[in-house]
Symmetry: C2
Subunit: 283 residues, 2 copies
C-alpha cells in the first residue's frame, strides 16, 4: 500500500515536469505545489489544424457556449456574440477570406467570435439614452476582452474533452467580406475565428515552447526581457523546428518579419479605418 | 452493480443540470453530451472579492503563469507580460487608482496584465527593421487578445484549484499612475488586473446568471438578440439580486447607465489619447 502510493506520487511529479519541459523546451526551475486534470489539460494545449471528418455530438456547441458564457465579463456587459458556422459552402467562403486556412473547411464547426456593441446600444436607447460611452475605444476594448475571455473558456473545455481547436486571426484580414457573409449589423465585428473538431490522430502536433518565464513575469515593477533570455529562446525554437521538420528560423527573426511594416499585417493595417465604417468611432 | 452505475449517472446528470440552471437562472433546454471536472469548474465560476489572509504556496505564481503561457498566441508573438504585485503598500496604491477595490489589498497576489509591444519592437530592431507594423491598431489588438487568453487560462487554473480571482478593469481608470507605480516603459500598458487568493468561506458568492444562449449564439448568420429574451433576462437578474439582497435593478437599466456617456467610463474615455502618449499610435 505504502509503496504503491509512493510510486503514484513519483509518476505524477514526473508528468508535471514533462509538461513543463515541453512548454518551455527546457527543464523547469520550479516545482508546482498543486496539480490536477484541468491544469494538466491547460499545460498540454496545442493548436489543432487537422481534423477528422466526424460531426460533434448534439449539444456540444451549447456546452461550449455555456463554458464561454461562464467567463468573467466587464460590469456584466457581455459585449460579445458568436456565430456558429457549419455549412460547408459558408466555411469555404470564410476560409478564402482568411488567407486560406484549409482547416476551417475540415473542422465540423467554425465559431466566429464577435465584438457586439449593437445589443448594448439598443438597451441604452430602450432606457432613453444614446449609449455615448459605446463610442469610445474603451468600449471596443471591453468587447475584445469579453470575447477573448469567453472564447478561451471554450478552448479550455475543448481541450479537456480531447477535442481540438485553432484560433483564426485571419478573420480580420477582410472584415467587410466576413461581415457580408455573416450579415453583421453595424457595431459588430468578427474579432477572431475558432475551428473546432476531433483531432486527426495520424497528425502529431507537439506542444510549442513559450518564452522563459523570466521574459514575461516581473515582480513588483516591470524590468523587461533580457536579451540573453530571448536568444536562449531562439535556440529552443530552432531545436523545436528542427524536430518538427520545419524551417529553422527561430523566434526573433520570425517576429521581426511579422511586425516589419503595414504589408506584413495581411490587410489588417486597414482595420482602424474599417472599424470606423462599421460604427466603432474608437474615440 | 447495474443499479449503482445507474444511480451515479443520474447524479451526474442532476449536477450538470444544476450547474446550467445556476448559470442561466432557469432550467437548461439542452443535455450536455460530455462532462468532466474541468467543465464543471468552468461552469461553476464566480468572481471572488473576499479573501483569507493566507499566502499562496511557493510555486503557485509560476504555475499560474505556465498555464497562462500555454494559451494560444497570435503568430507566436506573445505580446503580453505580467507584473506580480505582493507588496502591501504597492497594492494599496494600485487599489486607490482603480476606484477603491478593497480586495486588491486583501488578496495575497495582484497580477497586472500588460499589453507589451516593447519586447517585439526591440526584437525587430535587432533584426534591422523598425517594426512599423506595431504602430497599427491591429498590433494593439493582438496584445489585448493575447493578454486576455493568457489571463483566462490562469483563471481556469485558479478555479480548478479552489482558489479565487477577480478581474479589475479599473486598472484602466488612471493608466499614468499605474504606469509610474509599475515603472512601465513606452509601448506597454496595464490592460486589466486580477486579484488571486483563497476565497473567504464565510462569504458566499453565487454563480451569476448570464444572457440566454439565444441572445449570444447565432447559427450561420447573425440574427440579433430578441427584445423578449433580454426582458426575460432582466427578470432573472432581478430575482438573483433579490436573493443576494442587492438593489433590484435588473440588467438592462444597469447596462444603460454603464454606457450612457463619457463620464460613466470612470476616466477611461481618455484612454485612446493616453495610449498614444504611451507609444501606441493605433494607426
Amino acid at each position: 500500500m505504502k509503496r504503491r502510493s509512493f510510486s503514484v506520487t513519483l509518476n505524477e511529479a514526473e508528468t508535471q515536469q514533462l509538461r513543463l519541459e515541453a512548454r518551455y523546451g527546457t527543464a523547469s526551475d520550479f516545482s508546482p505545489p498543486f496539480w490536477n486534470s484541468t491544469i494538466d489539460s491547460l499545460l498540454n494545449h496545442r493548436s489543432i489544424r487537422s481534423y477528422l471528418p466526424k460531426p460533434l455530438p448534439q449539444g456540444t456547441l451549447e456546452l461550449l457556449v455555456a463554458a464561454a458564457q461562464s467567463a468573467p465579463t466587464s460590469s456584466g456587459l457581455q459585449a460579445w456574440s458568436v456565430v456558429a458556422v457549419q455549412d460547408p459552402q459558408r466555411k469555404a467562403r470564410l476560409a478564402s477570406y482568411t488567407g486560406g486556412n484549409a482547416h476551417i473547411l475540415a473542422a465540423p464547426l467554425f465559431l466566429v467570435w464577435l465584438i457586439d456593441l449593437t445589443r448594448l446600444r439598443a438597451v441604452a436607447r430602450q432606457h432613453g439614452n444614446e449609449g455615448e460611452g459605446l463610442d469610445y475605444l474603451e468600449s471596443f476594448l471591453i468587447g475584445t476582452i469579453d470575447a477573448a475571455l469567453a472564447a478561451q473558456n471554450a478552448v479550455a473545455a475543448i481541450d479537456s474533452l480531447g477535442l481540438g481547436s485553432c484560433y483564426i486571426g485571419g478573420i480580420r484580414n477582410q472584415p467587410q467580406n466576413v461581415a457580408r457573409e455573416l450579415q453583421l449589423p453595424p457595431e459588430t465585428v468578427a474579432v477572431f475565428g475558432l475551428t473546432v473538431g476531433y483531432p486527426d490522430p495520424n497528425v502529431i502536433t507537439d506542444v510549442k515552447p513559450r518564452l522563459p518565464q523570466s521574459s514575461v513575469l516581473f515582480h513588483e515593477t516591470f524590468s523587461g526581457s533580457a536579451a540573453e533570455d530571448l536568444s536562449a529562446y531562439d535556440d529552443i525554437m530552432k531545436a523545436f523546428q528542427t524536430k518538427q521538420s520545419l524551417p529553422k528560423v527561430g523566434w526573433t527573426s520570425s517576429v521581426a518579419k511579422r511586425v516589419e511594416n503595414a504589408d506584413a499585417l495581411s490587410g489588417r493595417a486597414q482595420l482602424s479605418g474599417i472599424l470606423r465604417e462599421f460604427g466603432f468611432p474608437l474615440k
